[in-house]
């Protein structure tokens, strides 16, 4: 039987592609603002939301979205108060998230459901979750495209953006919510422990080859799509965890690109020296 004859694989590919479209869009801004750790903080906090969702019998994804949004707003608020120590806000919220997740997970009856959020469970996604993830992904993508240049301006120079009339606080708030939503739905699919890697690695690969902000965004999305699709194929045929395989493919790709970037100029130099 072919891979696409299984409904769960078709759903996995659909959700994987949606996640691969939105994570790098958020990741570009996060990386360029030098807040890469925010993905970790939010994904750990999302676990607290998942646990709360399972305890109170509401959708764990919805629980994760609420917990992540609150955490992201808190990080932004602390970052504003202590702009020179933004990493403190991230560590504070991450600690709170991990603590809460640990305490609440003890109360969860079905530990299997909770554990599925650690490494993700893209293969066991329900129809309702597919609808939620599709809707939220569309929302994140549309908002990112509408605010594309404002986000670019703020990320490059927040002070100038403010002076030029960009509503910096509003855009930052919307972006915070978008980040929270993205992390929550990505936790369900690739896993809470892997989300921040998915945010950073495609962007890191893209920055090695791109010549503008626009191509950085495009290449980041293409890399994420490539890692996800290849990761799903490999995990299906090898019986491995998809989230982990996707991230490993990303890391290996980054190393290969970095190596090529180092080796190519050297080879060219040797060739020129030989010709001389």
């Amino acid at each position: 039987m072919g891979i696409f004859e299984y409904i769960f694989m078709r759903k996995a590919f659909l959700v994987g592609i949606l996640i691969a479209l939105i994570i790098p869009c958020i990741g570009v801004i996060i990386v360029l603002k030098r807040l890469s750790m925010i993905g970790d903080a939010l994904s750990h906090t999302s676990l607290a939301g998942v646990a709360a969702g399972l305890i109170f019998n509401i959708s764990p994804v919805l629980g994760a979205v609420i917990a992540c949004t609150l955490a992201a707003i808190s990080i932004e608020a602390i970052r504003k108060k202590l702009p020179k120590y933004s990493e403190i806000s991230i560590v504070l919220i991450m600690s709170l998230g991990i603590g809460l997740a640990g305490v609440l997970s003890d109360k969860v009856k079905s530990t299997a459901s909770f554990d599925s959020f650690l490494f993700g469970s893209i293969l066991s996604i329900t129809n309702l979750e597919v609808y939620i993830i599709s809707g939220l992904s569309a929302l994140v993508l549309i908002a990112f495209l509408i605010l594309y240049r404002e986000l670019f301006y703020i990320t490059f120079d927040e002070k100038s953006a403010r002076l030029s009339g960009v509503k910096v606080n509003v855009v930052n708030f919307i972006f915070t919510v978008l980040t929270a939503v993205t992390v929550s739905i990505a936790s369900r699919t690739v896993g809470a422990l892997i989300v921040s890697s998915m945010m950073v690695i495609p962007v890191a690969c893209s920055m090695q080859v791109s010549k503008s902000y626009f191509t950085t965004v495009i290449f980041s999305v293409l890399f994420a799509l490539g890692f996800t699709i290849l990761g799903l194929f490999v995990s299906y045929y090898q019986g491995l965890k998809p989230g982990s395989v996707i991230v490993l493919i990303g890391v290996i790709s980054f190393l290969i690109i970095a190596l090529i970037k180092k080796v190519f100029p050297l080879l060219r130099k040797i060739k020129v020296t030989k010709e001389v």
């Binding site: 670019f152 301006y153 100038s160 009339g165 626009f214």
Partner: protein
């Protein structure tokens, strides 16, 4: 009579117990190119921060375009190049053209049509058009400064505030930038306020030069500035350069 673009009356500011500005008065009119000189730590950048509402004064009044700074919101009318703008481009994956196009933001959002041509024109003004598709992070400090200046120029603002925009720029290009700003002031009636250490070019191109010292401005005539410059050069020749005027 036409209102001043900036009007500052009796402005005082201190960092804790250290008084930086003491009862300072200042104005700039449409089409004026004012150079602001003074030694390091004299309060030039503090003055700029007060004008941009980044710092709050202890005492005194600032009016921008005839409106009290507390009520003023229309900062789009002000183009600004910061002192540390060189640092902004480090490791940022954006092309020079993309950065300059950011300057086209107005109350209607970013320019939908014509932004590219405007940005290329501004890059030509600062002699950077051939770098349009380069990554900003691959440019030298002086080149980045010129890109930031192009970004400010593309905004069609009524007031340009520049905090040492020619830092790291060679003398020939620096002279071209001064000439460009002078023309901008004359032809488009833009008010240009420029903090600089380059007294020589300032004396040649600026319509007025103010020296900030002991917490207040002293307006220098071109003759006074030339005297100061001669004194400064004499000390350099004698190996006693103690910084800028």
């Amino acid at each position: 009579m036409e209102q001043n673009i900036i009007q500052v009356n009796n402005l005082s500011f201190s960092y804790g117990t250290q008084k930086v500005l003491k009862g300072l008065d200042f104005y700039i009119r449409k089409g004026e190119f004012v150079g602001l000189i003074g030694s390091n730590g004299s309060g030039k950048s503090t003055f700029i921060k007060l004008l941009l509402d980044e710092l709050k004064s202890d005492f005194g009044e600032i009016q921008l375009f005839g409106q009290d700074i507390k009520k003023f919101k229309d900062y789009r009318r002000i183009g600004y190049v910061a002192q540390n703008s060189i640092e902004l481009g480090s490791n940022f994956p954006a092309s020079v053209l993309e950065i300059v196009k950011l300057g086209t933001y107005s109350k209607y959002g970013f320019l939908k049509f014509g932004a590219k041509n405007k940005a290329l024109q501004a890059l030509e003004w600062v002699g950077m058009q051939k770098y349009a598709n380069r990554l900003i992070s691959n440019l030298s400090g002086g080149q980045k400064q010129r890109v930031m200046l192009a970004k400010a120029l593309v905004s069609d603002c009524d007031l340009l505030i520049l905090d040492e925009p020619t830092t790291g720029v060679d003398r020939k290009t620096s002279a071209q930038i001064y000439e460009l700003l002078k023309q901008k002031a004359i032809q488009q009636k833009t008010a240009v306020l420029m903090v600089t250490h380059d007294s020589e070019h300032a004396s040649k191109y600026c319509s007025r030069i103010l020296c900030l010292g002991l917490g207040n401005f002293l307006e220098l005539t071109k003759e006074q500035l030339e005297l100061e410059l001669r004194y400064h050069h004499k000390h350099i020749d004698e190996g006693e350069d103690n910084g800028n005027i």
